[in-house]
């Protein structure tokens, strides 16, 4: 079987997606369970010192620090589409390139606990 990987955006117009990556798992309070859509995770701040640009991500009472990284090998976002009935190809699925990721903000340092007590909607747990 042959599945074509379609791309309607072409070389110039591929939409840019991004990644926020951290070590560990973000958990919500048990009372929220799975109703997390729309819920705030945290606050991302940017600061610069000497020549470096730093990022701080505050989740609950944890503060993470990280940097923006350019991916040596970009990631493409592919979407699997189920074929409609009566389509030309007899495959059940096709693939489409819908975005490209060239940069991510990566938090790989241990989180720092903030002493003050912010509004806790989410808490961060690290492994």
């Amino acid at each position: 079987m042959e599945i074509k990987v379609k791309c309607n955006c072409g070389v110039e117009n591929c939409s840019e997606w991004a990644i926020l990556e951290l070590q560990g798992v973000v958990e919500s309070q048990p009372s929220i369970a799975n109703q997390i859509q729309g819920l705030e995770i945290g606050r991302l701040c940017c600061s610069s010192s000497s020549s470096q640009v730093n990022y701080t991500f505050t989740v609950g009472y944890h503060e993470l620090s990280g940097t923006k990284v350019s991916l040596k090998k970009p990631l493409l976002v592919l979407k699997k589409n189920k074929q409609e009935e009566g389509s030309v190809s007899n495959n059940e699925v096709d693939l489409e390139v819908i975005g490209i990721i060239r940069h991510k903000i990566l938090f790989k340092n241990r989180p720092k606990a903030i002493i003050s007590r912010p509004q806790v909607k989410d808490k961060k747990a690290s492994d």
């Binding site: 079987m1 042959e2 599945i3 074509k4 990987v5 379609k6 791309c7 955006c9 072409g10 070389v11 591929c14 939409s15 840019e16 997606w17 991004a18 990644i19 926020l20 990556e21 951290l22 070590q23 560990g24 798992v25 973000v26 997390i36 859509q37 729309g38 819920l39 705030e40 995770i41 945290g42 606050r43 991302l44 701040c45 940017c46 600061s47 610069s48 640009v53 990022y55 991500f57 923006k68 090998k73 970009p74 990631l75 493409l76 976002v77 592919l78 979407k79 699997k80 589409n81 693939l95 390139v97 975005g99 990721i101 940069h103 903000i105 492994d127």
Partner: protein, 384 residues
């Protein structure tokens, strides 16, 4: 993706990536946050593959029981999913909202990605190609036979759907097998038919005083056509045994004496496994080949093996072109044929092996055991 719930219009990936010093933004779960298992992250190894992907020149090929491969026009990649223990939050681009052109300083994450697919350059999987095309060898006069079904026959499109190789590698594979496209199907010509046509070309060359270095294509095709031979097959014979020399307007073919000598050597010996005493072979070979054709046993490298039985030397047909293409299967067959190989005998049967990322020495180290009693002795290779 479904439309945003409510009046949310966030800045998306752009706001996220262009966040400047002394600025901040809230990161939240997208209203449509969920597993979105239909979204896959694919790591692209280099710009060439990226270009092919963005220009829609890439396909995924394979049967349901095979691991899928990704093919660009010229290369084949194995697809490997690599998981991560990090939390990788995927942020889509901002969806332009015409009613509110100013985005809120807000970033939404749509999905937590469990990992991404990596591409590993791999050798095309072409052993299956020979297997498929051997199902129905093309014989001259085939059209006269009763069986006109297309079962066991493959078009280019059929091959693309069955063989895990890029278009370019598939074409090379077909060329390597001396396959020819007849009536839309790719066929390997039966050895007896190949021999018949070559012999006809050579006989007619003598009859019509044609020069084997400069056969006129039209002349050869028309003479053989009047003898009842399909022009596609005759042309294929010229391609198999000769080289085209486009001179002025008439197409000229020069037949390669070495390819012809090898062909007749194989005719004398029969198919793989056929063997005879060396003197008898040489005598028969000399009789079959045109006068003036050099026939040097070195031409048969990679086509024959020699055995000493008692005081006699025997020669046996063993063609590298009939052996598997993947290293593990190739070495397995070689060591089944002979437990120990001297390097000079082994080399013609391994020199064509290609695996991306491994050198020929690497292949030997991986699949063989090398023994060399002392510095002067020749190394001997056996199975690992």
């Amino acid at each position: 993706m479904a439309t945003n719930k409510g009046d949310i219009n966030d800045g998306g990936a752009e706001s996220f990536l262009t966040l400047g010093p002394d600025n901040s933004v809230t990161v939240r779960y997208h209203p449509d946050f969920g597993p979105h298992s239909d979204l896959i992250l694919l790591e692209v190894p280099d710009d060439s593959v990226l270009n092919d992907l963005l220009r829609g020149r890439v396909t995924i090929r394979g049967q349901f029981d095979e691991d899928a491969v990704l093919c660009t026009p010229s290369s084949t990649y194995a697809m490997k999913f690599v998981g991560t223990s990090n939390s990788v939050f995927l942020i889509p681009p901002r969806k332009p909202n015409l009613s509110d052109p100013q985005p809120n300083p807000l970033v939404s994450v749509l999905k937590l990605a469990p990992g991404n697919v990596e591409l590993v350059l791999t050798a095309p999987r072409l052993d299956k190609l020979r297997f498929l095309l051997m199902q129905r060898l093309y014989k001259i006069d085939e059209e006269d036979e009763e069986d006109c079904s297309s079962e066991g026959l493959y078009t280019w499109h059929d091959l693309i759907c069955s063989i895990q190789a890029s278009d370019e590698e598939l074409r090379e594979g077909l060329k390597f097998l001396s396959a020819v496209e007849i009536n839309g199907f790719w066929r390997i010509v039966h050895p007896k038919s190949v021999n018949m046509i070559l012999t006809m070309v050579l006989t007619n060359s003598v009859l019509h005083d044609w020069s084997l270095d400069a056969l006129v294509e039209e002349e050869v095709l028309s003479v053989l056509e009047s003898d009842g031979f399909n022009t596609t097959i005759v042309k294929h014979c010229l391609e198999t045994f000769g080289t085209k020399n486009e001179n002025d307007n008439s197409k000229l073919w020069g037949l390669d004496k070495k390819r012809i000598a090898v062909h007749f050597a194989k005719q004398v010996l029969g198919s793989n496994g056929g063997k005879m005493r060396l003197e008898i072979f040489i005598e028969k070979w000399m009789r079959n080949v045109q006068k003036g054709t050099p026939f040097d046993l070195n031409m048969l490298e990679g086509e024959v093996l020699y055995e000493t039985i008692g005081a006699e030397t025997w020669i046996k047909a063993f063609s590298v072109a009939d052996l598997p293409l993947t290293p593990d299967a190739r070495f397995s067959v070689l060591f089944k044929e002979r437990a120990k190989w001297a390097w000079k005998d082994l080399e013609p049967y391994v020199r064509d092996l290609r695996v991306p990322g491994i050198s020929s020495e690497g292949l030997l180290i991986k699949y063989t055991r090398r023994v060399q009693p002392n510095a002067d002795a020749e190394p001997i290779f056996s199975a690992r």
